[in-house]
Symmetry: C2
Subunit: 199 residues, 2 copies
């Protein structure tokens, strides 16, 4: 028999996992590669983890790909409460605003707070490291989070670039700089790939 | 400047990642927890990776959670060509059949074959380890792959159990045995949780 406190602990773990299921219903600005519909933040998080596995050779020698993958699995959970704030909306001003950050902190309190305390603490620390983007692991994780929508927009023939009238200079300043910080050769490659789209 | 062979290598990595995007359009038999629609295999893979992070304490001491997460990220890629074969369809006989296995092997040849050879080899080896379910890591990964649909079906009020007229004994024999093999206390907990549904 499982002792009662182990049962309560598993109840909390399962409650968190069922709450996390809602991330599959948060829609992003970016379309799928074939343009058929918008991507959701659950499948986006999976795709990013796959990017980390496949593009591991683009990371510096001090990056732990396994920690990067853990961060990417968690990085969007706060969107269950806050929604996705597209990089290019509000002329690039809404993403990372003070108001957005405060709402995301409250969401992290609630969502990671569903877990048994020591698990919640560990996962929240990873999320905060990702948000701060000041360690090699989080800088590489951010680079992947920024480059994946570029690849999807390009594959889909414009995607959120068309929706928000984005220029190549804006892609460079809002996105490219952060990709290049964590994965410079990857950004050089992707920039060359997308430049013809902007004419 | 990136040398030409590095460019060709990145082209292959990006081609694989864009092909993998199609997993977001493979529908599973299981609904989301709120029953609003069927789950796709991309977001399912993310949810499983999150299960591994949150339920790590259910794994035996010889399990590497990071390898489990890597397996779970990859485990359904072959469904891009083969589709999802629900556990409970065809009275439980289609899943794992010879025909399904042969189709999945051909899919693995094609999909992992898009990658630079040494990356493709490494990822395919992880997928084969998952499929064989003979190591501590893959046995735990399989346990999570089997328990997550149980939690979603239960949360959604029946899901694919209702669609396929599944009994608790069938859940036990088709699913529970494999969950219990990798995570016995988890299965005891989940079984107690779902038993009342079957009356």
């Amino acid at each position: 028999m499982t002792p009662p406190d182990a049962f309560a602990r598993l109840d909390a773990q399962v409650a968190f996992l069922l709450e996390a299921d809602r991330l599959k219903q948060v829609l992003r600005a970016t379309p799928l590669a074939d343009g058929s519909r918008r991507e959701n933040s659950g499948e986006h998080s999976w795709h990013l983890a796959l990017h980390a596995l496949v593009l591991a050779d683009q990371a510096g020698p001090d990056v732990s790909i396994d920690r990067v993958i853990r961060m990417l699995i968690l990085h969007d959970l706060v969107e269950i409460d806050v929604g996705d704030v597209p990089i290019h909306c509000a002329n690039g001003q809404a993403h990372g605003s003070e108001a957005t950050r405060a709402a995301e902190t409250a969401a992290a309190d609630r969502i990671f707070g569903l877990l048994p305390p020591e698990i919640g603490r560990d996962l929240r620390a990873l999320w905060e490291e990702f948000e701060a983007a000041a360690t090699p692991d989080s800088i590489f994780a951010k680079a992947l989070d920024r480059v994946q929508p570029v690849l999807l927009n390009h594959a889909a023939g414009g995607g959120s670039w068309a929706d928000y009238n984005v220029t190549l200079d804006q892609v460079e300043s809002r996105v490219g700089v952060k990709v290049a910080r964590g994965a410079p050769a990857l950004w050089a490659h992707v920039r060359a790939r997308i430049a013809p789209f902007f004419g």
